[in-house]
Symmetry: C3
Subunit: 262 residues, 3 copies
């Protein structure tokens, strides 16, 4: 019975309220009505693998062992790209083989094992060439939730695609990075991580230079432009009780420089 | 105990994050705290029965028998329109009698039975004239989830409203239809179904003519405008890794012609 | 075992699909994998305590006793503001001490007890100064769901912050209020409650005067501008099957006058 209440999370680029999400939930529940669905995100930017690769390491490390994750950002649906079942830190990912889980690899604390899905008895009978999330991944998640082992789903592989993600460059104590995400508050999250930054740096972004690195938003007056290490360990630029994205007029991809103190 | 963990899905036009959705969940859970809520969609266009009628057949056939569905698109709330409990393919729908479930009727593989809700002991004590979803449908769903039978909720009826849905016209091998939905990717989903289309058709939409029908998006170069049979069996027009809605500047209701090959 | 399936609701201003929401769900489930997550709202306007204070009394009275509510609208995160565990009508709130739950106080039918969270053994080991929702409130909710008592989480306090909410003024039978919320339909919800209004009032809003108070939307023709007492007992202004916000061009904060009949 404990197996019959596995956590199955969903992460897609289908859009909130999409009938595609709802149909996937149905396809999952019709295999395992006891699966415990947890919506993680349905509003990843369409077909944006980089956004998926940023989202997953912010989230999956917080989920418990035994969780099953269905992740559907799948511009190659219907082509010959494989579908994978990845065992990662005691959790299971069901993903198209397009590199969307690349950034989880360095976080593995145990050997990763990867299965290429091939056993059609765990899929829906009729497979749409444009919706493998509903017709393959969701029912496979249901079977895993009911106790099927990853090894039953296909053959093991040691090859999979990896994504080239925008990485910050460090040179002589200075760092060049970029904005990789903008949250609901308008905070600009960069790919510069805390470990790259020395004491008392200058942060240049847009046409602003920020000399004050704070611990938290409440350390500065409302309306102040501040830089800080956010909850994921990355440098972010924020306006206290306001929107840095709006104030600076910046988008994803905007460059950021962090200069070591002179 | 198995009855105490029935799946209860919610489909509304209240908007994501609406306090109306949250209050409905509360009204359901206060009758059956063990009900297993599954959000299907809360962003149907306001009071748009046609959109509801398009959504439901894309989704409900994938849900398991025994599921209970609360569907609230209800422009007539508080008037004398009835509320219905519909038994459909082993699933139960709770809906206003406004035709929103019209398109599920032809998918019935067993006789449909319909009850008009009248037994107030299964409703909240105080009924707002503008929120029957919270005060009637949600608690009734909770009672069904706890094991009450549809027949206990009121009297059977054989009359209900049906919606006139925009249907494609077929004449001499040619088809005239329209765009009935635009998804998060900007794909234009039409009401032309696969069975209406012959081999090698020409698709005319906006000021474009598409001669290439593909199997899946990956069959054409990124940026290509393509036509294909989507995951619901309907003709759709897409831009590979892009937005057809944006490219063509089209909205719901835009006409589409499918001409038989000469 | 019954304790292991407690309802834990989430209400935040993180935005739908935010990785912050997803990480909080993970942090909760990694403490109690059996917690039954119910999303209430993730699209409260950023850092808007007044909006939170409006949302909660519309919703929480409908939830069953025993529910645990994690509420994160937290502009003061990382400062010395406390985090509270509030026992309210048999339900438990986990909130920053910023007044976001002010409007629930008058609805208490039993004495409220409030604990200041201080026992770090129920928190994540590493606490980000900008994300107490994930690192403190979510794991504490998991421990409560597993049976920990509020009293184990810290010391009782009798002092907490209250929010000054915009209240309608009544004078000689006339009422001056304002629009406090606009819903997905474009209905303008005011802070004028039913009990403040006499028979046959005139409602002045924008440059319109409405003399017709209806029971429900269906009482007037589509397109009509009407006033009515909405499902939360407050005066609202609506356009039947349309958007009053759009028609009148009004926003939150717009004044409304209700004049007693002459």
């Amino acid at each position: 019975m404990s197996d019959s209440s596995r956590i199955v999370t969903l992460t897609t680029d289908f859009g909130d309220g999409s009938s595609y999400v709802a149909a996937m939930k149905g396809a999952l529940l019709s295999v395992d009505p006891a699966a415990r669905i947890v919506d993680l995100c349905h509003s990843l930017p369409p077909q944006n693998l980089v956004a998926a690769a940023r989202f997953l390491p912010e989230v999956l490390p917080y989920l418990p062992r035994g969780s099953i994750h269905v992740i559907v950002v799948d511009p190659g649906v219907g082509s010959d790209r494989a579908l994978l079942c990845v065992s990662w830190n005691g959790q299971i990912l069901l993903v198209p083989d397009n590199g969307c889980w690349t950034s989880l690899e360095p976080l593995a604390e145990e050997p990763i094992t990867v299965i290429r899905l091939s056993r059609r008895e765990f899929w829906r009978q009729k497979i749409s060439p444009t919706f493998h999330g509903r017709d393959i991944l969701a029912p496979v998640a249901g079977h895993l939730s009911r106790g099927v082992s990853p090894g039953d789903l296909g053959d093991r592989t040691t090859e999979w695609r990896r994504l080239a993600l925008p990485k910050a460059r460090v040179k002589g104590g200075d760092v060049w990075g970029e904005v990789v995400h903008i949250d609901h508050f308008g905070d600009l999250i960069t790919n510069v991580s805390a470990s790259m930054i020395g004491a008392a740096p200058l942060v240049r972004i847009g046409d602003m230079t920020i000399s004050r690195i704070v611990q938290t938003y409440a350390d500065a007056e409302p309306g102040s432009l501040v830089a800080l290490i956010g909850s994921s360990g990355q440098l972010e630029v924020a306006v206290v009780n306001g929107s840095a994205a709006e104030r600076l007029g910046l988008k994803i991809g905007a460059p950021v420089e962090v200069l070591a103190s002179p």
